[in-house]
């Protein structure tokens, strides 16, 4: 009798709607390598999971004082970096210690953050969510909020068959959103696909890029996701980069190579956001590398020789990596007005 009642109960509607997740597929852009790990293998992509992750990404109520969401520092119009900010704002007039990386093509990465501290996309949000100088919440506090909010209950039911949030479900939904952020439709991509042509300036810039930048900022991702010392001196925060994680002195001042995609929109630059424009970054690599820094990457030992005209050509090429279909995407963008501090 008890079994019969249980079966009847399982087919009854709990008021949060049906559980009919729609599978969606992750498209690899033409000509791109497959990611070395399938980040969705144990986190099946569904439209409901993606939408839940997106809502969480844009929700300031995940911070302790309801002022900061993921999108506050990862702004879609800045290729999901912090526009014009060297470091980002946290709660209570605090700041982070490093520049917010632009978020795109994360499915091809094996580690996250400038020092590679995070080894899996799903657990990355735990860092900003609980950091006292960022969103300042506790995991228990966030889960309690999600379990009590009617809209989230509906969305968790739609994505997971159960209205109650758990850390695993929340984090996996977020990864469905962030892992789906792919930028592969810039002018450069159109040229590579034979649908557009570079201007003469851009064409020459592409050659300079391949000569001097392409070993670390490798096509098509425009990063090889490795850790490199680019001759940037120890900053005032004494930030030793990767060494803080591995404790190995050979990792001193090594930071993760960022993508150059959308670089026009993701300034300021470097791990502490201390270089403000793309031309100034090019200047740094030509004139300002600290060659006394031990462990300077071997790719940078030979000086970069570009005259003023050639520098401009390189910058024009880098601007062809801007993908407005990504930064203005309705699918990736917020459903309402974007809330952020300023």
């Amino acid at each position: 009798m008890a079994i019969f009642l249980f079966i009847i109960g399982a087919t009854k509607d709990d008021g949060y709607g049906a559980y009919r997740p729609q599978k969606i597929s992750f498209k690899i852009p033409k000509g791109w390598p497959k990611p070395s790990t399938d980040i969705f293998a144990k986190n099946k992509l569904t439209e409901q999971g993606f939408q839940l992750g997106k809502k969480l990404f844009y929700d300031t109520r995940l911070s302790i004082d309801s002022t900061i969401s993921c999108a506050s520092c990862h702004q879609p119009f800045a290729a999901f970096s912090s526009l014009d900010h060297d470091v980002s704002h946290g709660i209570g007039n605090q700041f982070t210690t490093r520049n917010a990386p632009a978020l795109m093509n994360l499915a091809w990465m094996n580690s996250f953050h400038w020092d590679g501290a995070i080894n899996h996309l799903e657990v990355q949000p735990l860092a900003p969510l609980t950091a006292p100088n960022e969103m300042g919440q506790t995991l228990e506090g966030i889960l309690q909020f999600l379990r009590e909010d009617e809209e989230y209950r509906k969305m968790f039911k739609a994505a997971y068959g159960d209205p109650n949030a758990s850390s695993e479900r929340m984090l996996k939904a977020m990864a469905q959103f962030t892992g789906s952020l792919v930028s592969a439709n810039s002018k450069y991509d159109q040229v590579m696909n034979g649908k557009d042509t570079f201007s003469n300036f851009e064409k020459k810039g592409y050659i300079h890029y391949k000569t001097y930048c392409g070993s670390c900022h490798q096509e098509p991702l425009f990063t090889n996701n490795s850790f490199r010392n680019n001759g940037y001196s120890l900053n005032r925060r004494n930030d030793l980069g990767r060494m803080g994680i591995t404790r190995s002195s050979t990792d001193s001042l090594k930071f993760k190579v960022p993508t150059l995609r959308n670089v026009q929109l993701s300034g300021p630059y470097m791990h502490d956001g201390s270089i403000f424009s793309v031309p100034q970054v090019v200047d740094f690599y030509i004139n300002k590398i600290n060659r006394a820094v031990p462990g300077l990457d071997s790719n940078l030992r030979k000086p970069i020789v570009l005259n003023k005209l050639q520098k401009n050509e390189l910058v024009y090429f880098l601007y062809t990596l801007t993908d407005t279909s990504f930064t203005k995407s309705k699918r990736f963008g917020p459903d309402g007005p974007l809330q952020f501090k300023h």
Binding site: K42, H120, E122, V123, L129, L143, I245
Partner: protein, 244 residues
């Protein structure tokens, strides 16, 4: 719809009946319990003070650790491959139940810590849920062993002591295997469920292999040489207590 329910009902009933038959033909389970001690007394968290090997007094408030791949070993048969994780909280240690796979056992074996692979597997649930407070958010990895409290010997803020031992890869990997030999072979008989108590002695944390003094190191908060040295002390904390 009715036919589907009927089919489901039938298979559930068959499943239940076959479980009853199975249980009658097989021996009962083995339960394993972890009991914690300090200074030769049962460990009481929050309200008690104890002395460590350096003579420093401390009041522990939290003691939690991960046990992986807990199993019984037999000299008479090959061990089974097992993958399990349990979070033991000294404030509320839960029994762990093991299904016997043979009739005579000689050892209990487990690893203190979490398998490397599970440290890289993203968001997980159950014992590995980050909501348990045993996961580093700023440097991905599980905190294998957490001892927190207060001590007048600590030069830290609020005189806190915080030992968060972890590290899943490289030279400072903190996973440590423990094999405890039973005083005499444990024979499994049908319908009797033996209970093994594992005695956990906090005194051994301070100096069983390397010396930890609160005055020198009241905090260990990340993987590294210090955490690895502290991890070396952990296996000696465990011994076989009672077997009933």
């Amino acid at each position: 719809m009715m036919i589907k329910i009927q089919k489901l009902l039938t298979s559930v009933i068959i499943l239940l009946l076959s479980n009853v038959v199975f249980a009658q033909n097989n021996p009962a389970y083995v339960s394993i319990q972890f009991k914690h001690f300090a200074n030769n007394q049962p460990l009481v968290l929050v309200d008690s003070a104890y002395t460590n090997s350096t003579g420093e007094s401390f009041q522990p408030t939290r003691l939690k650790y991960y046990i992986s791949n807990l199993q019984l070993l037999s000299n008479k048969t090959k061990p089974r491959r097992i993958s399990s994780v349990h979070l033991i909280d000294a404030a509320d240690p839960q029994n762990i139940y093991l299904d016997p796979y043979t009739v005579e056992y000689n050892q209990v074996s487990f690893v203190i810590g979490v398998d490397s692979a599970l440290n890289c597997s993203g968001a997980q649930s159950g014992a590995l849920d980050p909501v348990n407070g045993m996961f580093w958010t700023w440097n991905t990895g599980y905190i294998y062993f957490k001892l927190e409290g207060y001590s007048a010997a600590s030069t830290n803020d609020l005189q806190k002591i915080e030992y968060h031992i972890g590290g899943y890869s490289g030279v400072f990997k903190a996973n440590r295997k423990v094999i405890l030999t039973l005083p005499e072979p444990l024979m499994i008989e049908a319908s009797k469920s033996p209970k093994i108590t594992i005695h956990v002695d906090l005194d051994k944390f301070w100096n069983s292999k390397n010396n930890i003094s609160i005055a020198s190191n009241a905090l260990i908060m990340s993987p590294g040489a210090l955490a690895s040295a502290a991890a070396d002390n952990l296996p000696a904390m465990f011994s076989i207590g009672n077997i009933e």
